[in-house]
Point group: C2
Chain length 275, copies 2
């Protein structure tokens, strides 16, 4: 292992990594080194570019904090998250598709009663969403927990915790979701700018739905007609999750109040897979 050059370095690294007792780690690292080296060879990576890449990765790491996952955002914007999700997301037919990885339940969600207004100060047209949590056969799942996240103008993400009733029904009001940009004041935002890409996500509500005996579902419900449905900065849109917020004339709303403005309604059922 002296005089390593372009032709021999990859095999030398693979040989060095081959003595780990963990067979899966060895497999992962073998593939990683091969693809990393193939990338550097394909483009004949220069010293200056290597430096820029190292610096970029450092900055991505430094931008990460308990509130911000810049490496996850990088993975999203490079399509890696969607790929990993697609090749692992083996839901039974008919179940609601996941658009994001399973996540630990967050701790700073505000608990609301069913039917409450969860908009928490976000501005926009009033919307009423309701539906039923069901199993794959369409039977109601009682008392599921729903965590609803919504990004508005700004990028404040409000998180609301609701519990469906014994018949699996949930309902709440909020502002109709608006399109918004991912965090773009960091290194990933600079990358998007350099690539002449926008940072917009189509309007959606995000749901984390859990019930005993069912696989937790992390998904997003998009709004029909959004101009970014075909250019989501993080490649997350699925047709089955594009929904129509129906405009209603002024008058009585689903929660019994009277609106002097038009408002919107959406009926959407979530079908959970067994755990």
């Amino acid at each position: 292992m002296r005089n390593l050059d372009e032709a021999t370095i990859t095999q030398a690294v693979l040989a060095r990594n081959s003595s780990t007792a963990d067979a899966r780690l060895c497999e992962v690292m073998t593939s990683l080194v091969q693809h990393l080296h193939a990338f550097a060879r394909d483009i004949k990576l220069t010293e200056e570019e290597w430096r820029s890449g190292i610096y970029f990765l450092e900055q991505v790491g430094k931008a990460c904090s308990s509130d911000r996952q810049e490496f996850v955002l990088l993975s999203h914007t490079l399509g890696l998250s969607t790929l990993v999700l697609a090749q692992n997301d083996r839901k039974p037919s008919g179940c609601t598709e996941a658009t994001a990885f399973d996540v630990p339940q967050i701790h700073n969600a505000t608990v609301y009663d069913l039917g409450a207004d969860i908009s928490a100060g976000l501005l926009g047209a009033k919307g009423y969403m309701h539906g039923t949590i069901r199993d794959a056969k369409g039977n109601p799942v009682p008392s599921a927990t729903l965590q609803v996240s919504q990004a508005g103008g700004g990028l404040n993400t409000e998180r609301a915790l609701l519990q469906a009733d014994q018949l699996g029904r949930y309902f709440f009001s909020t502002v109709v979701p608006q399109n918004h940009r991912v965090l773009h004041d960091g290194p990933v935002g600079m990358m998007l700018t350099a690539l002449n890409r926008h940072a917009w996500r189509p309007a959606h509500l995000e749901f984390v739905i859990s019930a005993p005996g069912y696989k937790r579902l992390v998904t997003q419900v998009f709004r029909e007609g959004d101009p970014y449905l075909d250019s989501d900065a993080v490649f997350g849109v699925r047709s089955s999750l594009i929904t129509h917020w129906a405009q209603q004339p002024p008058g009585e709303t689903p929660d019994g109040t009277v609106s002097r403005d038009p408002f919107y309604t959406l009926d959407f059922d979530f079908l959970l897979a067994k755990a």
Copy 2:
């Protein structure tokens, strides 16, 4: 670009990245996305592994500081640095090989007179190194600047600045270099442990040599017989740079002092390429 799946996500990302005005950036990103996705497909990267990878990269980023380049160390230990250097290092035949990227001159080097002892407190057998800085044809290059770095027990890296004389000659004394480990108390060290790899580098002195009109040379002079020459943790050894520190009996040393112990001498010329 809806309903992206395993089969379609890569092309979708490439299409999105294709509108940048920077042709080279587009080429680099196209290759990067293809190889990144191919890696995830080849090993069928799982959600949990994806999370571990993201976490590892975050930790590498957080370990970086002005004193520590953990991403560079990662690149070294994965053989990427050696590959990039090999495919860009086009030195004229006969010139001393580079083993590391060109680096900015450091600012905390101590200036020494020619012939000085630069060991700065490192313990070990006394060694006297001398030689001439030459051009590719073997003609002396006058007044080159040499920055010499040496890692000893511990990992204190002493940096000494010397200037060769008008005839290109340099000489100094120090302790004969010892093998030592790269920084291994961080995420890269954990990776090496998981891969059942050691963190040792063979004994060497590192030189950054510059002279007006010549390409700056960053190289390492290794010590013959070191047990890690064939398993350098960062894949940096070249046969042309393995040198013999000759043991000398007690008596007069090259700097005119008398040693009661055996000491070592090394004669090595550096041949610089034209800038």
